[in-house]
Symmetry: D2
Subunit: 366 residues, 4 copies
């Protein structure tokens, strides 16, 4: 009625409960992506939470650390060594970089699928991985089979994958923002692709650090990572893959005093052909069947709160009067579409569940 | 396993979809309680949203005003005069005080049940109503039949009610905090009941006012309403009803730079009998079957974010070393258990649905 | 000792109190730029606050509206018609656009200097003014004599000016960020100048509007004004003036949940000559004698809180590896260097006071 | 004119620069009270910053850690062992509890006065100190000579003191709120004194801890310390001293998502005599000559931002209709009047400077 693709109520019948429940394990459940997986998976109709590990918190009830989960999660954290992850159907790694690549083979041997929310399986080039993450890659052979878990770009590969490298939060916004143009060669790549990205503070994780204290980061903002952010090579590799040539890519992330939310403003030069096109129509067509990508009507600018707590990503396009440039504004919840929600979307695909199962959470506004 | 009453997964089977869907109308859908009703009702398994009225915004798609609802609500606001509310099973009033009492009779005549989120049906004493709300009560006869919609106290009456006066946000915290004591006469009412209450800014509503601008209320806090807050007489009347005598009641609300959330700290003097009792056990027993009241283990203090977006209320008790006093800390989401969620809980009871239908939303943390 | 230009203590002796105090009037003292003028002027050693007008609040003590000023400002707001502004030495207009241009001539006739914090005297092209501000310019002749009040660029003209058009907040960051390059023709203007600007909410003013309520703009961010922001033509005109040719300029402002603070990220292409230069040294030299422009050491990124409440502007330069691009990050307090502080800096110049008189306020951190 | 005691401009002449500058040292300059001392002392007309120590940051320029101080502080942190603190006139300890008491004697021997912002010299009863701070007191003899640094209560003693125990932030609000009543025996001490206190997050200090991360404490609030907060015995001892008898004291602190600011709501029962008195007049008279205590007009409620960055404390009184109770609302900036500002006020008294020297900072609003 209002140009919205479909409405949840119509889709409800797709989410049946006839599937056998998946047994799900989470390695590293004490960070923000871990608790976000728990929030979503604890009420996912096709999931049975089986094990949540934490070396430091073994024995503690999960709901004692995160009282928001009282009544929803009655597991305790278990020691990684003792957790029977091999009995799971799928294991999520919500761990620091470098953990999943050391445990993946054993799980695969036990027929357990692996979804890594860290960077171990995002970069196919192990030299690049080692440069940015300061460690050798532990399983280059597995890496070659891993799929970059961005469903809107790689859905078919994800369905049959055994290992998913779940994308970084910034890359998700940049890549979904630019894919329709890159796929069709509609950018003038003589000009750099510029991504001015803004993230809420939860993106820095649940680590005790002075820089992300409330009294440091509230009522304050800053740019960071100009000398090199780890998402730069990840985005760069995907841009090259999508566009078929080496891009010039400028990426400046900023820290914003919000808990959640990410807004990326993209500045790109359209090819001569694209300057004459209706790019709004192009985007709407490209994403018309994508449940979680919402191309906003021309002139409507997205706010991060419009996706708070949900797996939605919203995109606005604006052709600049000057210089053949297109500006795109992309918003997502960095912990959902930028992390845990996307990981669950991947799980749904891998197990032939409805892609939106467990992900129809209405954004929390205000 | 961890002292949690029951787990959502076990309860899921209670939420069947065999009920015919209720046709639901909302009068005044542009404020925060309105959009919160929409957030929850749009995915309520037993509800079909039928009409949302707004005099000022008639014709506008609801999702254009609240983009968070894109894909979930495809209605437009309709003119109150033209909306066929009489065809609904139930109508929520998310309007300013004084609206519902003028429209309730016509709806009741059409066999439509009414749930008012404003104050029209909260105060049985019309003189008190007129004093605090500066208007005569339009329908004292209906008022006599209206039920105060606090399910944990008045569940049976609510089930058969046709009109509900949904409680104010502050009263919900004070009354659920004190009911177990008042019901059994365990307070020394020679000492005043003191409620030091703190509310997020959404409690002030979605009105354009300087005092609640971001630049005025961020990084700032204040007390307000010392000369008289409208929730004072509402709480006072219920305290008297529950305790069977006239209480002395001191109430100081404060405005806190949070979007949502309410924390009320209660200071009461226990009777000599109660001072010797295990009040923790008393509370746990009183609320053991209440899905939405969570008595925290002794020593665990609640945070407002632990209920963000959910209908949960959490209570901690602490016996002071001095003076026979008990301190209670009560948290809720002011827009959910303090408004829209409680209204839906009332609707569920009135239509014999599972009390938690549509209300199993895991709190958003962080 | 640490590369800092000079230290406040050494400068203190410059701020003598031997000057006769200036009589200062403020028209429109109830907004954020008004109260900020009052904060700074009330303790300015060379100023005597003489009149503060407000049509709506005439008779109200200023300190009753802004209790932060209790003990510092003992004036009441006066009616604009009755205030004897002609007896002042200088009058600041902290009013909406269109007010100052109607009152300036009368004040000039009375030998009163005028500093307008709105846009009336910022744009020399009256056609551009009328297009963006939707009103004819009331005094084109005076406009021709007005000086654009950016001291670091136009100091000598400001000293002898009678009317100052105080720059907008965004323009101050863009222009001070790019002046050293534009003045020397060091940009490749075939590429667009891109300004991705982020502002705290106080930039929207102290008007009662839903969009800037705490519950709307907290924990949230958005881009706005893509279809045209009024600071675009102001910046564009100055860029053209500084660079000597028509620039391509892309400007995207964003609203950030901070009270104060502005951070502008600039993306520009260096000329071939500049790509080989030490631009860090260029900037340090250009601003070495500027008290309020702080070129940060290479690699140090500024935070907005590092200038909170102060007239300082801080700039970081970063040469991108790709594409010959330079990224600049510029921070200021939008209400101080972006408005009231800069206006006082102009006043100091106009009356031959030390340029930093009344402006040595240490930033409030945390 | 508007009931304000005096205006800054009239007081300016008191702040002469004829005093020889004090040589000031700060031990532990990396926390929030340390940087706040630096903010205020760097522009104090009678102070020369001489040494700032930090074991962990020795050699780092202070302005590199706190860029807000660029141009104001050109010292580097020095190693505590190497800093020549004995050459100072006064040394501030902005250190954890337990540091000052081990270094005080050596400084006193060198004729250096000591102001400790931690708790070492606040509690005269060493048994109480040891119980709450879990360490034996290192210098009970010096403790006996130390003065509790609350100028409005102990001004004369402070003037001649060599060691000051600077009060805690919460105690300052409670004690200045209740002193006029306690001093005259106007409370009914059969009822408990209840202090419901709310603090901004900077009160927790600049330590890397998960609980005070932005993503944990933003948009959230909680009570804490119900089982015993270290300010409880400090307040209790002073209440007993002021009131001349053992009080019953209930204290519940809360953490509020603000950077700075403290608001304490006090609930006390007036004696029969006081119930008949004009307590507003009593307070106004008691504090009429106090520069930093502002008794607000009846009915005006204070906001924390009205004192942001300043040494002001503001108090509102409200007689409850019920029960003979008086409610007081007290606000201060926890880092200024609650810590560094009060310490400087003490220094001014100890060295016979104008009490407000260096402390006339207009609050930052908005």
């Amino acid at each position: 009625m209002f140009g919205i693709k479909f409405c949840y109520h119509d889709a409800m019948s797709d989410i049946t409960m006839t599937h056998k429940k998946l047994k799900v394990g989470i390695v590293g459940g004490t960070g923000y992506t871990g608790v976000e997986l728990l929030r979503l998976l604890s009420v996912h109709p096709n999931v049975s939470l089986t094990a949540i590990t934490s070396r430091g918190e073994a024995g503690l009830a999960v709901a004692d650390m995160f009282p928001s989960l009282r009544g929803y999660v009655d597991l305790a954290f278990s020691d990684p060594e003792k957790a029977n992850l091999a009995a799971c159907d799928v294991v999520f790694f919500a761990t620091p970089h470098g953990v999943a690549m050391n445990q993946a083979q054993a799980l695969l041997d036990a027929k357990v699928k692996v979804i890594d929310l860290a960077a171990d399986f995002r970069l196919q080039d192990t030299a690049v991985f080692e440069k940015w993450y300061k460690m050798p890659h532990a399983c280059p052979t597995l890496l070659a089979d891993a799929v970059y878990g961005l469903p809107e770009l790689y859905r078919e590969k994800i369905k049959s994958a055994n290992i998913i490298g779940n994308p970084g939060c910034y890359p998700t916004t940049v890549l979904l923002g630019l894919a329709p143009l890159l796929e069709q060669g509609l950018l003038d790549l003589n000009a750099p692709i510029i991504a001015d990205a803004k993230s809420g503070v939860s993106g820095a994780g649940r680590k005790a650090e002075v820089a992300t204290l409330f009294a440091e980061s509230s009522d304050n903002m800053k740019a960071y990572g100009l000398n090199g952010h780890r998402h730069h090579p990840e985005i760069h590799a995907q841009l090259r893959h999508l566009g078929g040539q080496e891009p010039q890519f400028i990426f400046v992330p900023h820290l914003i005093p919000m808990i959640r939310g990410m807004l990326t403003t993209l500045y790109v030069k359209l090819s001569a052909q694209a300057q004459a096109m209706d790019v709004q129509a192009l985007f709407e067509k490209r994403y018309q069947h994508e449940r979680f990508v919402d191309v906003l009507p021309a002139g409507v600018l997205p706010e991060t709160r419009s996706v708070r707590g949900s797996n939605q990503i919203r995109i606005t396009l604006h052709k600049q009067a000057d210089a053949g440039y297109l500006t795109l504004v992309v918003v997502q919840d960095n912990l959902v579409k930028g992390a845990a929600g996307q990981a669950i979307q991947n799980m749904n695909l891998m197990f032939d569940l409805p892609e939106n199962a467990g992900l129809e959470v209405v954004p929390l506004l205000p």
